[in-house]
Symmetry: C2
């Protein structure tokens, strides 16, 4: 039910998705919805942000372990992102952004779920930058800039119906990452 | 009416805003809504994206004319953005992103309005980079990365309830802009 909700929120937004849509897409019974989510739609929204965010965290972690450098990580992730986005014909964006923009800061539960996801994502990026010798004071800002760039690029790509904004943003961020170490530029 | 709609969409999303809310916030009569917007809510959505996007374009243009460099432009714009966001207690994000994420690519009218706005924004950035001697092949990707970074950072700032993601992303982008010219790093 949580995955069905996450998919619908990603395509059509949180407000635009009714409990009825979630039940229809998941095949679950109405009673089980209220049993598992006594907090109703807001609780499903928070659970969907957590579940979808965790899946991205796992992907980040796997790619970070495979990568030779932060720029190599970004290229690998960008390739995945472009493949997913093109397979969905630019309908599936970030599984958490739309919901967060509609509900933050109004919903405390969904806002808290979003913050925890961004903490996890930043944590993976920060560890990767630290492992590759980035100076401590530049790690957090660079991790944030990577996540912000990817989120913004995904939005631009959906609106444009093209992967080019993702490729362009990744290219610019890789220039920053490749040239980012003191003495390496 | 268009401005009232843009403000509501920015805070609570497109689907979460009813025509009734727009009428109440604008003080307009229902008849005038259908007179000016025979296409109903979708037409108001497209008009709100166009109007709010144009205001940002004008701000970009003014700051670009005042700025000594692309990094100087980005610092000036970031200061404005942080002031607006803090004044709204992190409720007002980008006036067009939420609506676009909820309706793209489903609504052709709103998608087209969004593309035109991003073309305008990119145009200002590209002219600024060209004026400061950026090589032709790096202009479009860098302009896209700046817009993507700002959009993503604005979203992160709302979720975090802090301006730090905007400051961090701007700092990283300024490092890219300051070090971005061949021979200047």
């Amino acid at each position: 039910m949580v995955w069905a909700a996450a998919k619908l929120f990603r395509r059509q937004g949180y407000s635009g998705t009714g409990l009825r849509d979630i039940l229809a897409a998941s095949g679950a019974a109405r009673g089980s919805l209220y049993h598992h989510f006594p907090g109703g739609k807001e609780e499903i929204g928070a659970a969907a942000v957590t579940a979808a965010g965790s899946l991205v965290t796992e992907t980040f972690q796997e790619l970070a372990n495979l990568s030779d450098s932060p720029a190599d990580f970004l290229r690998r992730y960008t390739d995945l992102l472009v493949r997913w986005l093109e397979a969905s014909k630019f309908r599936d964006g970030c599984p958490i952004t739309t919901t967060l923009l509609e509900t933050t800061p109004g919903s405390a539960a969904i806002t808290a779920a979003g913050r925890a996801v961004f903490d996890d994502w930043s944590g993976v990026m920060e560890m990767l930058l630290a492992r590759h010798g980035w100076p401590a004071e530049r790690i957090a800002p660079t991790a944030t800039a990577i996540i912000a760039g990817l989120e913004g690029a995904l939005m631009l790509a959906r609106v444009r119906g093209s992967s080019q904004p993702i490729r362009d943003t990744a290219e610019a961020l890789c220039a920053l990452l490749d040239g980012g170490l003191p003495g390496s530029s």
